[in-house]
């Protein structure tokens, strides 16, 4: 009997209502007896609701038919019926689970108000009803039940602002409900039924003026409930003021219910798909734009919530419009679950942190665990991998592209970028320690629901990955490794570093050793090089919380990037790389702010790449990277988009402003990895794109030629900007930017020789920039300075570092006989062969300019006058020098026998660009010239040794006295202090006078004005939110009117 009751009634979907209502009635009774028993019952009920939803959903997933529930045993239309299918099950389970977690979070407040238990249960039940019911009027009732419960929950807080916000909320939703009711009754009038399925079956009856008015009312009501711009000020006020638990449930639960209502009534509203899409898109874009101006944490979450619901609406309308409802679970489901978990988690966290201004979130600074949670939730919201939002956005954008809805792609990506901007600005503020902060008082156990939400995000993300991809294990390998390393984060720093190296070396080898061609070469650079440079991380023995796991993720994601066969795999690894490198940059001393710029530019790059891949998918119908070339007429556009993305990531001119800050402020050893290794991923991407698309004759030369100019101008201006830097790391940062410019030009040449040049330069840049940044790490470690003019004369203390730097600089400069010359020679030959004479001339100029900063680096740091306080400095630690000298060894080998390097490069390129290098013995011949590296090496060694021997011989006849640093001719005076004797500050003042006008910070000014303008725009767009409930009500009415007019109301 009891068993029967349980299986027949309780475990059926209807059991949710039974449990909710039953518990609802019993809770006050239990409360009379004992508060704790009431709370226990409450949790049991919520858990029961989760369990029922879960069990039934599982059954459906296992192939059971959707459950139709008929009330009173009568079939519709004579009675209300409910349905529990796949969609319903998913939504209900998600909402109930989040409600359970929310209740856990809200527990301390629940203890105060027994009635809140009841209201909470009713509210959740209402949302369940909204999802399951198939009856329009019943839907209205559930909406109202939910609303009244919500009102009451809001009203329990007795502060004026909450009540005011609540009243505005009531007015707005009541008007919306009134519209709903009107719509419902007119629909009933037309169709004679209240059953949604019945109405859909008689869709043709819903026409004419009454049909139009009826559907218009219904649509307006549902849209208003979803809080569209600008009729959403009331929602924002509630998000801002209501307790986090309630706000979370309104944001995710109520909105989910309304969204589902829209989903199920959509067949009735099929005339308005465009309107719905526009409303959703505009809301997504504009609320994210306005969010930029917001500094109240909860209201910010409100903007984000509204934006997310807009995106969901847009996704729904677009999917239906394109007739790809099969993708709906992935797109809308993914976005929904992502928003649900992330937003709820953030509202809870906001509740716990309990700081209104986002600036005050700096209380989290220095608390890795909390920041990790915060970061996970934000990353999920922005749509970074591996969270569900990532997969959903991917599918959405690819499908939008396939359907030709390009404007919507722009809206989605632009909106996402804006959202990332304010969310990660918030994160940046949380990272910065401030003096005035008192430590937060969050108890660890109260973070449990937030942590569970974060875990669920990972789980659902993986679930979606399994749906979309076959090779998920490899894709998630970096994350698994990272998690494993993170679990060991309590170990001493050196041990962690060692562990990380072992894991990355083993994983990287497993992932990349069986690759072929280009990928193999990049495998050596990215993974091998990454491990080699990461050896240097051993020079710091401090704990560096989070550093090693993230570095592990970064390096392994580079390995998986190389393995990618489909654009999705590629993009996944790419974004993972972006995210992990961003987080690593934030770990630097002043890294938080520059990291934000880095992230935003990286995301912009990623979105260009995403758009490119989506268009390629649309054109070729395949996600295979190898199919990028089958994109027919859109080839030029695909190429331009992808190339733009990769060029942003290389720091091309105009979009380079992230480079100096990022390289400057990241940890010194990590900068080496970032510049020498990570930047090569963009080169790999560019080569990949060029290989698949750029070399096609039908694409035309023009995009490549433009790319060539971009690269060379980047090289020139990078060098010029480096000349005027006082900060040693920024100097090298600009230098990296410039050197990558040459590589970009090499790729743009689209010729065998050009690509050999590009690859050769890539390898070379890895070699010398790795040395330089590690050398600088040693110098910075010893001197604690980054401004070069504050150093000087360090050759006496750090001879090995000096030698390494000097060799790296010779290798960079292009002076024979080291590797740099080969790169310049190949590039020049390739450019002349192609007829790019102007670029060749510019290359000459920029490589001459490069001498200026190279000399400046060597002189002001290592030569000249040593400061008194540096007299006792020691040489850099051996562990920093070891990788440098290993790299020098490689440089020497490749300098003497470039054939060792050039042959594999050439053969890796041949599949795409036919041709091979012409060798005559050890001499390389091109159409124009020849280059016999071993002989050059021999001659140079000879002509260098002979004068040296001569001088040594002469020295025997001389009395050579080693003198002090002040024993210089100083116009018959004596120098007074090293500071005023060392010529270092503003070293190229005269050059500034002549050419300084070229490097006025125009790009920075441009991007600053973009930021300023978008803030101004945001400020003018939010004037609608004047806080007056009546204005809000007016907007709701106006919404109806506008929808009426736009959909041709006057033509009736």
């Amino acid at each position: 009997m009891v068993e029967g009751f349980i299986t027949q009634v309780l475990l059926q979907p209807l059991g949710i209502y039974v449990v909710a209502l039953g518990a609802g009635f019993l809770v006050p009774l239990f409360d009379r007896a004992h508060r704790s028993s009431a709370i226990l019952l409450f949790f049991l009920a919520l858990a029961g609701m989760v369990a029922i939803a879960g069990i039934n959903l599982l059954a459906i997933l296992n192939g059971a038919a959707p459950i139709q529930i008929e009330t009173a045993g009568i079939a519709p239309p004579f009675a209300i019926n409910l349905r529990f299918g796949l969609y319903e099950g998913g939504f209900v389970l998600a909402v109930n689970s989040i409600a359970l977690l929310g209740a856990l979070h809200w527990l301390p407040s629940l203890r105060q108000h027994a009635s809140a238990l009841l209201l909470y249960l009713i509210m959740v039940m209402g949302i369940n009803g909204m999802v399951m019911t198939r009856d329009l009027f019943n839907l209205f009732i559930f909406i109202e039940i939910t609303s009244i419960a919500t009102y009451a929950l809001i009203g329990m807080e007795r502060t004026g602002s909450v009540l005011a916000a609540g009243f505005k909320y009531i007015i707005a939703t009541s008007v919306a409900s009134a519209f709903f009711l009107l719509g419902t009754i007119f629909l009933y009038y037309l169709t004679g039924t209240l059953n949604i399925d019945g109405m859909v079956a008689q869709r043709e009856l819903i026409s004419g003026p009454i049909g139009f008015i009826a559907t218009l009312f219904l649509l307006t009501s549902l849209l208003i409930e979803l809080k569209p711009y600008p009729a959403n000020g009331w929602g924002l006020d509630v998000y801002e003021t209501a307790p986090g638990g309630i706000a979370a449930l309104i944001s995710v639960g109520v909105s989910a219910g309304v969204f589902f209502a829209l989903l199920k009534t959509l067949p009735l509203l099929d005339n308005y798909l465009s309107s719905i899409a526009v409303v959703g898109g505009a809301t997504f874009l504009l609320s994210n734009l306005i969010g930029l101006k917001q500094d109240n944490a909860r209201r910010l979450l409100g903007y984000s919530s509204i934006g997310q619901m807009g995106l969901l609406t847009l996704a729904l309308a677009a999917t239906v419009q394109l007739g790809i409802e099969a993708q709906l679970p992935l797109v809308a489901g993914g976005l929904f679950i992502n928003h649900l978990l992330a937003k709820a988690g953030l509202f809870w966290l906001a509740d716990l942190v309990n700081r209104n201004s986002t600036r005050d979130w700096s209380v989290l600074a220095g608390r890795p665990g909390r920041l990790l949670l915060f970061g996970i939730l934000l990353s999920a919201l922005v749509g970074l991998p591996p969270f569900p939002g990532f997969w959903a956005k991917w599918v959405l954008v690819t499908e939008l592209a396939a359907g030709g809805l390009y404007p919507w792609i722009t809206v989605v990506l632009l909106g996402s970028l804006l959202e990332a901007a304010y969310l990660f600005r918030w994160f940046t503020q949380a990272l910065q320690t401030r003096e005035s902060d008192t430590p937060d008082t969050i108890r660890l156990e109260s973070l449990l629901p937030v942590a569970l939400a974060a875990l669920l995000l990972f789980a659902t993300g993986y679930g979606m990955a399994v749906q979309l991809e076959s090779d998920t294990l490899i894709m998630f390998l970096p994350l698994l490794a990272g998690t494993a390393l993170w679990l060991l984060d309590g170990l001493p720093g050196l041990l962690k570093s060692l562990l990380m190296l072992v894991v990355v070396a083993a994983g990287g080898a497993w992932l990349t050793l069986d690759l072929e061609g280009l990928n193999r070469i990049f495998g050596f650079i990215l993974v091998g090089g990454g491990v080699l440079l990461s050896l240097a991380t051993q020079y710091r023995s401090d704990v560096r919380k989070g550093f090693y796991p993230l570095l592990g993720i970064l390096l392994l994601s580079l390995a998986t990037l190389l393995r990618a066969h489909t654009s999705l795999e590629f993009f996944f690894s790419w974004e993972l790389m972006t995210l992990s490198s961003y987080l690593l940059v934030t770990l630097g001393r002043g890294g938080a702010k520059p990291a934000l710029t880095y992230l935003l530019f990286s995301l912009a790059a990623a979105y260009f790449i995403l758009a490119g891949f989506a268009l390629a998918y649309a054109a070729s119908g395949s996600l295979e990277l190898a199919a990028l070339g089958d994109t027919g007429s859109s080839m030029g556009l695909v190429f331009s988009l992808l190339a733009a993305g990769f060029v942003i990531k290389t720091g091309g001119l105009g979009v380079h402003i992230w480079v100096p800050g990022t390289y400057g402020e990241a940890d010194d050893d990590f900068t080496a990895v970032l510049s020498a290794v990570v930047s090569k991923a963009a080169i790999f991407g560019l080569l990949l794109v060029a290989a698949q698309l750029g070399i096609r004759s039908d694409i035309g030369l023009d995009p490549a030629y433009v790319l060539g100019w971009i690269g060379m101008l980047t090289a020139t201006f990078g060098a010029l900007m480096a000349v005027f830097q006082e900060d040693i790391k920024k100097l090298l940062a600009y230098s990296s930017m410039g050197q990558l410019g040459y590589i970009v030009t090499g790729i743009a040449l689209m010729s065998h020789l050009g690509w050999v040049a590009a690859l050769y330069l890539t390898v070379n840049h890895f070699l010398f920039k790795g040395i330089l940044f590690l050398a600088v790490a040693g110098v910075v470690l010893r001197t604690s300075e980054r401004l070069m003019y504050k150093m000087g004369g360090l050759i006496k203390n750090m001879p090995f570092t000096f030698v390494a730097t000097m060799i790296a600089i010779i290798a960079m400069s292009g002076v024979p006989p080291l590797t740099g010359f080969g790169g310049k020679w190949l590039l020049f030959n390739a450019m002349m062969e192609k007829g790019w004479y102007w670029l060749a001339a510019l290359a000459f100029f920029s490589s001459a300019v490069a001498f200026l900063y190279m000399y400046r680096l060597l002189h002001t740091v290592f030569l000249g006058q040593r400061k008194l306080e540096h007299a006792q400095l020691r040489e850099a630690p051996a562990i920093l020098l070891v990788p440098q000298f290993l790299l020098i060894g490689i440089i020497m080998v490749f300098s003497a026998y470039p054939k060792l390097l050039l042959e594999p490069l050439s053969s890796a390129i041949s599949p795409w660009l036919a041709g091979n290098l012409v060798w005559d013995g050890l001499s390389l011949h091109t159409h124009l010239g020849y280059w016999n590296a071993p002989m050059i090496m021999g001659v140079v060694a000879g002509v260098w040794m002979i004068p040296l021997l001569f001088l040594l011989l002469m020295s025997l006849t001389l009395k050579i006295q080693k003198v002090g640093q002040f024993n210089i001719v100083f116009a018959a005076e004596r120098p007074h202090r090293p500071e005023d004797t060392h010529f270092a500050y503003n070293f190229f003042a005269h050059y500034d006078r002549a050419l300084g006008f070229l490097v006025k910070p125009r790009a920075t000014a441009f991007w600053n004005s973009i930021v300023e303008w978008s803030h101004t725009l945001a400020a003018s767009l939010r004037i609608f939110y004047n806080g007056n409930g009546q204005t809000y009500a007016l907007f709701i009415v106006m919404y109806l009117v506008v929808l009426f007019l736009v959909n041709g109301g006057l033509q009736l």
Binding site: L868, Q961, K962, A972, E973
Partner: protein, 210 residues
Amino acid sequence: MKKTPSTLSTLENAGLSAEDQLLFSNARPRPYEPYPIKAIEDFANWARANSLWILAFGTGCCSIELRPLMTARFDASRFGVAGRPTPRQSSVFIIGGYVSVKTLKRIVRSYEQMQGPKFIIALGSCPANGGMYFDSYNTINQFDLYLPVDLYVTGCMPRPEALLGAILELQDDIKAGKCDGANRYIEHFDEYKANQKKVIKDWNMPDYNW
């Protein structure tokens, strides 16, 4: 002057603060030997004599007579004479007239920075005996108390012809191997230094300006 072999291998550099001591060399200069083979030494002296690079440091009013030396009328470049802007590369120091105490300090510093073999020509009466400034409070009267002079040219002031003649005479002396002023200075370093320090009160240089 008698030879006083120095007992210490390094100099005190007492005029320098502890900090500055680190920045300057405190090595004691050593005299150099001629080449062991006479022929080579003669050849070297011939080269030295025919390539006299004059330090462009006009110490007093007689320096005005240095300028015409390079012009068309006298054209000292015929004899391998050239001006040089840095003491490191010069071999001849022409003391151009009276030497004030302030200038003496700079002369000493510059002279010590020249590389040997190096020669001094004292131009005019003042370096020899103070000339018309003999009773000035800040002009030294006898220059060779402070630095070794290889050749005096008297007159107030001497004509360029006299200077040119002195240069030719110096060349002859160098070729004959008679100009060992630099070594003399080092051998009698302590006396010279004591004399210098006697007049130069603000001694803030190292004892030997390498």
